[in-house]
């Protein structure tokens, strides 16, 4: 009997693979999937008072969410800010990734390490350094005053959506640089040369050959930046002020001082739904685009 089991075990890659995956999958089910399903369940309950929750099913919290202009506007603003951040980050990182992929010959590894190093330094400290730079008495304002260019501190650069966009574009740069570099580096350079030989200008070559071939990296970067930034809490809190506030602020207060867990769960579920649907649209559109190119 055991001999047979052993033989079966030795033969089946499926069994062996899943034996190795057991801890990872148990962790996924217990610490990620179940808690998320439970959160969805809580979004259908009602908070009666500080410690009591009514567990009867209701969709009232969702109605409440969409009837509160504050919540819907924060949701809209979260998505909008993340869109802008993703766009700005990609646009600014692309030329740098392009340069390293096509022009750097010596010490490529060094450039790559330099590219990814900022990602590993504390997220909180990176955001904090922007507070030092953009603040009313910060580097920009005090620098400009010392130089005599302005007499009053510029107030619009701190505690605004602009501050959030600048800070997040800096914080997530490595996540754009790396996927862009990887996909650009894979491009067969003879394709670009062929395009040039056939009479396309540099710009035409870029639009018709290089950019389409780098789309996998572009999509990767879009998803890897857009998804997490929608739910970012630290940046809007630290540099956003009231103008730059995002939905994460309300989620935190529902779970904190307001103590309305079902309402917090609704906000989290809606945020996740928004992120998931946008992600699906982006991947659908880009797969279609890539297919057309190929």
């Amino acid at each position: 009997m055991w001999g047979y089991v052993n033989k079966l075990y030795a033969r089946s890659d499926n069994v062996k693979a899943y034996t190795l995956l057991t801890p990872a999958l148990i962790f996924f089910f217990c610490v990620m999937l179940t808690p998320m399903l439970l959160t969805i369940a809580f979004s259908f309950f009602t908070q009666i008072n500080m410690n009591e929750i009514d567990y009867s099913f209701t969709t009232d919290r969702y109605v409440e969410f969409f009837n509160k202009p504050l919540l819907t506007s924060l949701l809209f603003k979260s998505v909008k800010i993340s869109f802008i951040v993703t766009f700005v980050t990609l646009l600014t990182a692309y030329p740098a990734a392009y340069y390293i992929a096509f022009y750097v010959k010596k010490n490529k590894t060094l450039w790559l390490i330099l590219m990814s190093l900022p990602f590993w330094t504390s997220y909180l400290l990176r955001i904090f350094s922007w507070k030092i730079i953009l603040g009313t008495k910060g580097v920009v304002n005090s620098g400009l005053i010392t130089l005599g260019l302005i007499s009053e501190p510029l107030s619009f650069i701190m505690y605004s959506q602009t501050a959030v966009v600048i800070t997040l574009s800096h914080a997530w740069a490595a996540f754009a640089l790396l996927p862009l570099y990887v996909s650009l580096d894979k491009i067969d350079y003879s394709l670009i040369e062929a395009s040039r030989d056939l009479g396309n200008s540099r710009l035409e070559t870029f639009w018709r050959v290089t950019f389409p071939l780098s789309l996998p990296g572009v999509i990767g970067a879009i998803l890897i930046i857009f998804i997490p930034t929608v739910g970012d809490y630290v940046t809007p809190q630290m540099v956003g002020g009231v103008d730059g506030r995002m939905l994460s602020y309300m989620i935190q207060s529902y779970f904190g001082k307001v103590n309305n867990i079902p309402m917090g769960a609704v906000s989290a579920v809606i945020m996740l739904a928004a992120v998931a649907s946008i992600t699906m649209i982006v991947s659908y559109v880009t797969t279609k685009l890539t297919q057309r190119v190929a």
Binding site: L20, A24, F27, F28, M32, L125, G138, L178, G231
Partner: protein, 266 residues
């Protein structure tokens, strides 16, 4: 390969300056003899460092972060190593779905992970504290550790392991005598980077830790008071230097004994 493009080179240099300079303001102002972080600089001092050194809560929070970080990085490296082995060695049904499942915590907003963990933890009737923080960190570190380990394992010829099996060593013996020594630099890199991720992680700790602050939470709490900022600058500067050192060490280890110019991964 293209020959030269000076305008693109200048742009790239400026972009790297944009990436690096903001972070360097922390160390710069940590030596500035003033309580405000503004120009002009008013002189060199170590007093912010002395101030930080004299604060007991800093060391309490540091100890908490180290404990959580060590446990989280060890557990996630073990989970990630087994998973990485499964994905690189076997072709199996559902491998793509399982791969996505392991990577998912890295792809969804962290605040949602934190909120879900609060909901389940409180429903089970437990108190918030460092245990749920550590569990959350393991969930969050595992995808990173797995990606690091996969890139290491893929770099090796599996015929070495097959040879060991053919020569009569069992699976366990093969793992300890052949695979493990080959993976070791990758495993250490995974431990170090997992530790750094946990050490720097803020959101999960902020939502789940209750009254025991980790180091990032300690800093967050101080940032609200303008007078307490300078010693946070000193602390931040030390953290940045230490983190950079550990990360460079991990990079060096991960590439040890591997062919150069391979695909670069996170």
């Amino acid at each position: 390969m293209e020959q030269k493009n000076n305008s693109l080179l200048i742009y790239t240099i400026f972009y790297f300056l944009f990436l690096y300079i903001p972070v360097l303001f922390l160390p710069l102002f940590s030596f500035n003899d003033s309580n405000y972080m503004s120009f002009p600089l008013s002189g060199f001092t170590f007093r912010h460092y002395e101030d930080m050194w004299s604060k007991a809560p800093v060391f309490r929070a540091l100890w908490v972060s180290i404990k959580v970080g060590v446990i989280a990085s060890v557990v996630s490296t073990v989970i990630a190593l087994m998973a990485a082995k499964a994905f690189t060695k076997y072709k199996f049904i559902g491998s793509r779905v399982s791969y996505a499942a392991v990577l998912l915590p890295f792809l969804i907003p962290e605040i949602i992970l934190a909120v879900s963990l609060i909901v389940i933890w409180l429903s089970l009737g437990f108190k918030l504290g460092l245990v749920p923080v550590t569990i959350g960190h393991i969930l969050f570190c595992t995808p990173f550790c797995m990606l690091i380990l996969i890139s290491r394992i893929e770099g090796f010829d599996s015929s070495l392991e097959e040879a060991s099996r053919d020569l009569g060593e069992n699976a366990w013996g093969t793992f300890w005598k052949v695979s493990f020594p080959l993976y070791l630099p990758g495993i250490i890199a995974s431990l170090l980077l997992g530790f750094i991720i946990s050490f720097d992680e803020f959101i999960l700790a902020f939502f789940l830790s209750g009254s025991d602050p980790t180091l990032p939470m300690y800093m967050w709490n101080q940032l609200r008071f303008i007078k307490k900022l300078p010693h946070v600058l000193a602390l931040g500067a030390i953290i940045i230097v230490a983190t950079t050192f550990v990360v460079l060490l991990a990079y060096w280890l991960r590439n040890l004994g591997q062919a150069k110019n391979k695909d670069f991964k996170i």
